[in-house]
Symmetry: C2
Subunit: 586 residues, 2 copies
Amino acid sequence: MARVEDVYRDAYAGRVTGERIGETIRVAGWVSRRRDHGGIVFIDVRDASGVVQAVIDPARLPAARDLKLEYVVSVLGTVQARPEGTANPDMVTGMVDIAVEALDILSAAEPLPFMLDGRVDVDERTRLEYRFLDLRTPRMSANLRARSKAFHVMREVLDDLGFMDVDTPTLIRSTPEGARDMLVPSRLRKGSFYALPQSPQLFKQLLMVSGVDRYYQLARCYRDEDFRSDRQLEFIQLDLEGAFWGREGVFSTLEAVVAAVVKRLRGVELDTPFRRLTYAEVMERYGTDKPDLRFGMEIHDVSPVVEDSEFGVFASTVASGGVVKGINAGQSEMSRSALDSLGERARTLGAKGLVWLVKEEDGFRSPVAKFLSDEETSGLADSLDATTGDLILLVADTSKIAGQVLGQLRLELGQPKDHDDLAFLWVIDFPVFEVEDDGSLSPAHHPFTAPVDVDEMGESPETAISKSYDLVLNGSELGSGSVRIHDPAVQRKVFEILGIGPDEIERRFGWFVKGLRFGTPPHAGFALGVDRFLAILQGERSIREVIPFPKTQTGTDPMSGSPTRVDDEQLKELGIAVRPEVKADE
Amino acid sequence: MARVEDVYRDAYAGRVTGERIGETIRVAGWVSRRRDHGGIVFIDVRDASGVVQAVIDPARLPAARDLKLEYVVSVLGTVQARPEGTANPDMVTGMVDIAVEALDILSAAEPLPFMLDGRVDVDERTRLEYRFLDLRTPRMSANLRARSKAFHVMREVLDDLGFMDVDTPTLIRSTPEGARDMLVPSRLRKGSFYALPQSPQLFKQLLMVSGVDRYYQLARCYRDEDFRSDRQLEFIQLDLEGAFWGREGVFSTLEAVVAAVVKRLRGVELDTPFRRLTYAEVMERYGTDKPDLRFGMEIHDVSPVVEDSEFGVFASTVASGGVVKGINAGQSEMSRSALDSLGERARTLGAKGLVWLVKEEDGFRSPVAKFLSDEETSGLADSLDATTGDLILLVADTSKIAGQVLGQLRLELGQPKDHDDLAFLWVIDFPVFEVEDDGSLSPAHHPFTAPVDVDEMGESPETAISKSYDLVLNGSELGSGSVRIHDPAVQRKVFEILGIGPDEIERRFGWFVKGLRFGTPPHAGFALGVDRFLAILQGERSIREVIPFPKTQTGTDPMSGSPTRVDDEQLKELGIAVRPEVKADE
């Protein structure tokens, strides 16, 4: 009855070591190298475990002459020690080869569009068009394995901690403001649409209302946004939420998860707990809410030193309520023109100008040196801890702009190119609200984020601190979270400050807010961007390198050619049509 | 700097046992029961772990008077033995209660739309509208926990077996025939669409081409189809594929996964390997390709017994190439009118009629008894193993219809109402092709399924057997899979038999078939419907009971009100419009 399949192999290529000499084995895989050598054919057979060399006599097995790169073969043969002088001790299987007695060509391969040994750079579009080949390269197969391991480790830690994996729906209600929502037309209710979730936020909060104690999910999320910033239309986040939980629980859980992943992928034990800095501190010291702490070069406010300077820009900026801030960019060999182009860069970033000074044995070399008193130069050197040869950069502007510009210059001058070091940081005590340019307030995180002090929030909403937090790694935000509001009175207060009336609440959040009225436990959570985290751990610049089948920066898949036009008949069944002006475009 | 959260609890309600008597603890949860008793308030506090009773003196803690069902509280108190006669040995925490010293009401609850003790049936729409409450019921919270455990166990087994978890994209290329595809309009390429995947089939096969050895994924899939058959627009399947793999590997892996899940959720050790029957056998014996093997009542062809019968229908049916088939429905107390309505049912199912016979001490009681010879009655009794009191049902028709009708009657008369027993079955040796009503052939599984014998397939495609297989549990198909074609010559042959020319191949499968040309290993796989499997294990009739936030049978979510209308402005950004005739409908 049962027809047993052919057996293609009984050993993994990468595990054929000296211990197996004399055994007859069968391995199967791809021909990753082929050499003709005095009438004998040597091939490397590659499978997921690694590579082993096989030696074939084409006089006995003529099919060996047909073999080309990336053919799929199954070879049966005897493991033997390689002849003296030909062993390769750097390879796991380098001491042996297989003397082939039977060769099956399971599948042929057309000539390759690019070589798979990673020795030549291939443009990304071609790599994505042939992703099934690209994933065979050592780099990409290592990235795939790392991703799978990371998933496994994350789940292992959270399962051990008693978290429940709950899958939330991905065909959800669109939000009225969901300009970035991806929509899915309904066939049964023509003219109506589902949205793909930007995150499981509302559902995970409702799971807390449902009595789930600890929730997690490696959740597929969708955001239809600008691709230039190395994002993808679909991405995976490790989504967490807990009832009767607070920030400390979130932090220790995340630290356990992150440390386990780093241990597994990097073999490194992280120090925990991670460092914490408040939002106010990081903005002051690094000019950004996601500082890279792998290097110093901190921003210092030197206004007190230069407020009476003869250099009028400094004095007038401080007098009009601005600041003069600076960084010590360290030992610099920059030419005059390089320094000038730094000034250009600062102006591109929004500064009115940039002052550079190089510390010399005695005072500073700088276009503005002659305007600075001895007291000022020594004050600057002290404030910025400058020693001979150090480059000082100063920006006089509003505190916000001076910080932003110096924060960016700091990154461009100091940030390591690789990710060998890992600097984790919790940024805490974010404001509840952001002040928009028109003076109105918007939620800094989302409107369900709990304030630290409700009365304080009522009195001075602009400066009120929330219970939200970010996790930062090497200057990238890995994720964010918060303690949520569980008290309707607090929620009403937040909506009131935001100027959101009952009708708007109902329209925007009605179904969710209703859920909160039937006994909501205090709860808190977090969402970690898995793709970014993996890219950093694998030392990759783009998240596309750690996603099995990513889209390009314009949202296309060169392999399958999606997205595509669709028959109008098919659209008709969904009750939609492509707008005439779009059709005309093509 | 760090502001530590309030501590809401230091113990789980369901774990407060006699061992803790005398300790001061804090638990937090929902008020699931409230009684006033001689001026003392008794409440049950429920959290995810269970329930504990708390005793509050409202004279000391007046807030106790405000408590209502499903309020969220945190109570601090001393664990004490319950007074004699009030203990409840059936509850884990039934020997103790908490003498409350401090009571915090963390959150109030509006009056509930239905009680959560599961004692009253609530209509499903209301349950889904208040899913966040429904999930608090013992039944639903048990289903949620079971789902999470099943996910965990499946991954654990597969991780141990060396499978890699790879996430395939969910915004993919639409297939030209994808009438059931759900579409997602692209914002960046207005007028173009992505499709949501009906399964990761093509991507997982390309992963094999990519050199992944063993792949799995708990994959979200989408199918825009009729909801009447207890399906969902989105569902989760355990998706597997392996290179250099065949049926036996797939079977033993699935058996390990399934047995581990059953062990975990049911505490039962399954016998493995599972039973196997060929497609031809199950169609013959059960009239369906997903037989329920928990009971016998097999179909027998009794044509030889009645081919010369005086009962003309039997004789003429056999004479014209048809058959007479029967089942023994066992001891029956059916009234004459019940038996007649069985005949009605058979006609509804497509039979021309149904003959019933009840075995008596001597011969049969039946409307047709008088036409049957002694030889025929004893032959029928022998063939169908009938003893006194057994009900025999016979259908004379084509073999296909007789089998279908009796297969369905068999289910209706014999199928257990619960799922206490679990009968797993592999159905193997499916045909490669199905013969359509117009005589044309279509793939029985999909066109990439390997035939058992290529030459045989060329000679008689209608009867050729493929390497596909189904897993059946208690009459439900849990999933299906196959060995795939890896040889281009075989693939061409299949397309040729299906009448699919090069242009059509290119248009329908071009990007995928291209992938197969660069060295494709032999591979095989499977997809298991997780929702159905869980519903059976949890004894639920509908998959909606084991899905956290399901849609109704018409694809709507009564909780959030999706799908919804969307502003035309928002659609404009996507380059689409609702068709005018649809707008007019509303």
